[in-house]
């Protein structure tokens, strides 16, 4: 049996400070608080639909990173060594959270990247992906699968 999800605020109190430090590294101090606030709100929206209660800290880092990118607030130089999605000093590499997600989806158009993040990073169902993109659930599903097909071809090539 999978452990139940902990109360969301327990995570906020345990990891809020390090998420803020992470956001500062990505965006600079001025924007970091806005990014963290938005990231935590996104996380809360997706929270009850998470399929497992593991790697929650890594997941929060990931959502914070994505939020910073979505806000186009990340400082220049994506290749910079500071720009890592992963929390420092995790005991074991969380394998569900592919290190290369952002770089993998980087060549795709903006809309496709957003759809993929909403589905696989924020872990939203298609109704909500659709709501976020302003289209139907069916259209959202098509957009995600088409993006996944493109990625497959790209990886195979």
């Amino acid at each position: 049996m999978t452990p139940p999800l902990p109360p969301f605020w327990t995570l906020v109190e345990a990891h809020g400070d390090e998420l803020l430090a992470h956001a500062r590294r990505l965006t600079g101090a001025a924007e970091a608080e806005d990014v963290v606030q938005e990231a935590l709100l996104r996380s809360l929206r997706a929270y009850p639909r998470l399929r497992h209660a593991e790697h929650l800290r890594a997941w929060l880092y990931r959502v914070t990173t994505t939020t910073a990118y979505d806000a186009h607030r990340v400082r220049g130089g994506r290749a910079g060594e500071e720009l890592t999605d992963e929390p420092p000093a995790v005991a074991h590499a969380p394998e569900h959270y592919d290190d290369g997600f952002e770089s993998l989806i980087d060549p795709l158009p903006d809309e496709a990247r957003r759809a993929l993040r909403l589905r696989f990073v924020d872990d939203l169902d298609y109704d909500r992906v659709g709501a976020a993109l302003g289209c139907s659930a069916v259209a959202a599903r098509q957009r995600v699968s088409s993006a996944v097909r493109t990625l497959r071809k790209q990886v195979a090539a």
Partner: protein, 198 residues
């Protein structure tokens, strides 16, 4: 590392509540009987804990019942804070009865009935006994089961288990300790004779 600023946490909680994302909201309140954790669900207050109890454990208990999207907000629980604060400072004691209470953490129908009856029928300044409370719900011999219902009351103060005393005398036991029970009874002017608070 710098902790998250209070303004960020306040705004986050307000946005979560406005969007209907919160399964429950909690606040921490300093009072003359120590720090209290107060958790409120869709139906009202569902958990009140004394400072000796772990916040995380209590919130996890609420999460298991009402859902994991639990956020902290003093502002959302403003009125609850005022009413509890005023009561515990020795002000108006009738405010407690007007607060909404959500007994969804109480799984047993018997215990729920006992708690509802206690809340409805035993007001401030009044006391009853475990046996008499059992009789009120139609089980005059169930003093022990009533005692269990009191011991497991998830919402002390608003369901006033401190007003239930042993038939044999004394203040009896209390989840928050006998000293708190005595203090609450004294606050309500209902301390039994010969049991002056130390």
């Amino acid at each position: 590392m710098t902790p998250l600023p209070d303004t960020l946490l306040t705004d986050l909680a307000a946005a979560a509540v406005a969007e209907g994302l919160a399964d429950a909201v909690f606040t921490r309140l300093d009072s003359p009987i120590g720090r209290l954790l107060v958790v409120s669900g869709p139906g009202g207050i569902c958990r009140i804990g004394f400072e000796e109890e772990s916040d995380d454990a209590q919130l996890a208990e609420v999460a298991a019942r009402l859902g994991p999207r639990i956020v902290a907000s003093d502002a959302e629980l403003d009125r609850v804070r005022d009413v509890l604060g005023e009561y515990l400072e020795g002000g108006a004691r009738n405010g407690l009865a007007a607060l909404d209470v959500d007994l969804s953490l109480v799984a047993s129908p018997f215990r729920r009935t006992v708690l509802e009856t206690l809340r409805a029928e035993v007001g401030p300044g009044d006391t009853t006994s475990y046996g008499k409370l059992g009789a009120r719900v139609g089980h005059p011999r169930a003093a022990r089961a009533v005692g269990t219902a009191m011991a497991r009351n998830p919402v002390p103060l608003v369901v006033p288990c401190h007003r239930v005393l042993p038939g044999s005398g004394g203040v009896g036991s209390y989840a928050g300790g006998p000293a708190r029970k005595r203090a609450l009874l004294e606050l309500e002017g209902a301390l039994p004779p010969g049991l002056s608070p130390r």
